[in-house]
Point group: C2
Chain length 380, copies 2
């Protein structure tokens, strides 16, 4: 392999595939980036046990010559050093030449770098995915679904399936659900489809979705998602993102969600979030995170928290609507803050069925996004 | 104590004094900020064993009413919570009222916060400093002196005096020196003075100077520095910064600095820094940080480093001058990078006296800034 390539374009692709590299892996080949060059361009690949990312750079892009190929070939180079040194090369162009035993020379100006490369045949091959089961959705929808659910997944490995987000695909609707034992977040998006899609139900690790979200472009673009039994492939412009699917059965959470409420409350989202944030400041000093919501006979509520060492925060908020039974309820302020942060609506609906039943949180005029928080059982 | 105060101005002063609060201290009173209010304004104080910071807020500033005093008094409030809650208050103004047993109530809009306050009489009193021994220097000079020396102090507590920077004051010159066992950095500034100043020589902890640098304003202003036997006081606008002086005798470093050189080299500072940076990338993979500089018979030098696992970086640089004996010398690339980063000069002078003697680094046309790095003894 021998070629010249524009440094910035190479750097961009390295940053994309590097998201698949974790430090936890012991195998040196998985700490590397595989580079394959042919007349069309070069393909970079990186992989850990859960995620694989591939990024293609075409030899010509928008009438600009990106790569001058002299000899095709392939090699695996150590990801961290390769990434850092390419970024710091003195010139716009880098020459990469693979010599005997995969020893690789990178030249740029008067700089010459020799890197011990590895055999690309030892690099794991990427999964084969049948692209018959494919849907296409806008990247912004996918970004919203991830943002509104991924924070709620469990961080405990005692129930591995709950560390992932459930994706449920049915005709024209993609629904995400994340939950741990204390809260639940689900969000769904409707999208246009020309083909009949078989219903799918898979679970993808929260960590993977956080990496995926970083790869989604700022500008809205269409993403192809291909499903297979144990893998999902996302095509994001010139990037292929492969992820394995978590094994196990996701619990049926639909029965947890109440359809009627004894108490219904509508309030300005930011006003409530700011208030919970102040109460959280104090509640976290006691590491309890307990905040209390106390409904008054008029349309006001009182938010309060206390720490035996520091003191007490109390404030009154005006609601827009407060109907039904008044109650005092305690909950985790951090969970409520997380929930309020991802609501894209100026006003928010909260539904209650007594102080020991889950609190339901929804944007005022949408049924596509719903969250649920279990209250604390405290002495009132 | 009872008063109303503009939130943003209070917040600013809290940020200033908070720099004196460390988490290491066990005494609760030192985790607090002391607030004293009288007709002139309020004074905030914070202190750990080494640093004390006081910030004054005048009741009227630039024809604007900042504080409305109802009742003078004082209290100590827990720094972290007080700082966070003031920043997050819903309105521009906060009311602070100290009640019996130093219980303090903060009100802003419909928010009411009760904080368990502490007795201000238990707060340590600030040092008394004789302001006869005072010099005045521009804040930018002080900032430069700190930046060019503080990084070189020792981080090891085995020789405590070397964890500080030596300040030497003589008529019209303030000189800073920082060194550990491998490198030395000194920088001096000349300033105008109307009075005779007694020579002073004190050592101030590097950690303290890093905090001080953060308090120096972006805009150049005059700073008063008052010296006493075991304390230094700096007056920075409305802030008083007290620091204790490290005990012990600072080594005489002047004899380490060679006056003549067997080899003299002049080179573009950024070009050398970029090159050392690339070599550093590789050298740090081996945790050795060793980089080699090899002088050629013409006016070029070769910078190289190698890692047994990853590979080798080599590059040729054109010098502007290279006179005297050619040599091969190895040194710590991280130390050289640190040194080059603080040089405010496009071209740099490096002086050598053989491969085992210190390397001297100076800006090309200034004698006010000098650094020294010990080379590694390696097999050539």
């Amino acid at each position: 392999m021998k070629l010249k390539i524009l440094k910035d374009r190479l750097n961009e692709s390295i940053q994309h595939v590097s998201k698949a590299i974790t430090n936890k892996t012991a195998h040196p080949i998985l700490q590397g980036i595989k580079i394959e060059a042919n007349v069309e361009g070069i393909t970079l690949s990186a992989s850990d046990s859960d995620i694989s990312i591939q990024s293609f750079i075409a030899a010509e892009e928008n009438d600009r010559t990106v790569i001058e190929l002299e000899r095709p070939g392939s090699v695996v180079l150590p990801a961290r050093f390769f990434s850092e040194i390419i970024r710091k090369l003195p010139h716009d162009q880098a020459e990469i030449e693979v010599k005997e035993l995969f020893n690789t020379v990178i030249r740029s100006g008067t700089v010459e770098i020799q890197i011990v490369g590895l055999d690309p045949d030892e690099f794991p091959s990427l999964p084969q995915i049948d692209s018959n089961k494919m849907v296409t959705i806008p990247s912004e929808l996918l970004k919203t679904l991830i943002r509104q659910t991924v924070f709620a997944v469990s961080t405990s490995e005692t129930t591995p399936i709950l560390t992932g987000v459930l994706w449920q695909l049915s005709d024209g609707i993609l629904k995400f659900t994340g939950c741990d034992r204390h809260r639940l977040a689900c969000s769904q998006a409707r999208f246009e489809t020309n083909t009949d899609v078989h219903p799918e139900s898979i679970v993808i690790a929260g960590r993977t979705l956080n990496e995926l979200a970083k790869l989604l472009p700022d500008q809205n673009t269409l993403i192809d998602i291909c499903f297979s039994d144990n893998q999902v492939l996302l095509k994001i412009n010139s990037i292929l993102f492969y992820t394995s699917v978590l094994e196990g059965t996701y619990p049926d959470t639909s029965r947890l969600i109440p359809q009627t409420f004894q108490t219904e409350l509508v309030i300005d989202t930011k006003m409530l979030a700011d208030s919970i944030d102040r109460a959280y400041l104090l509640s976290k000093e006691d590491k309890s995170n307990i905040v209390r919501l106390d409904m008054k006979e008029d349309r006001t509520i009182e938010i309060s928290s206390a720490s035996s060492e520091i003191g007490k925060v109390t404030e009154q908020l005006q609601t827009n609507e407060l109907n039904g039974e008044r109650l005092k309820i305690s909950f985790n302020s951090k969970y409520m803050l997380d929930a309020l942060k991802v609501v894209d609506s100026e006003q928010i609906f909260l539904g209650f069925n007594g102080p020991t039943h889950p609190i339901v949180i929804k944007p005022l005029h949408s049924a596509d996004h719903l969250q649920l928080i279990l209250p604390y059982r405290t002495i009132n």
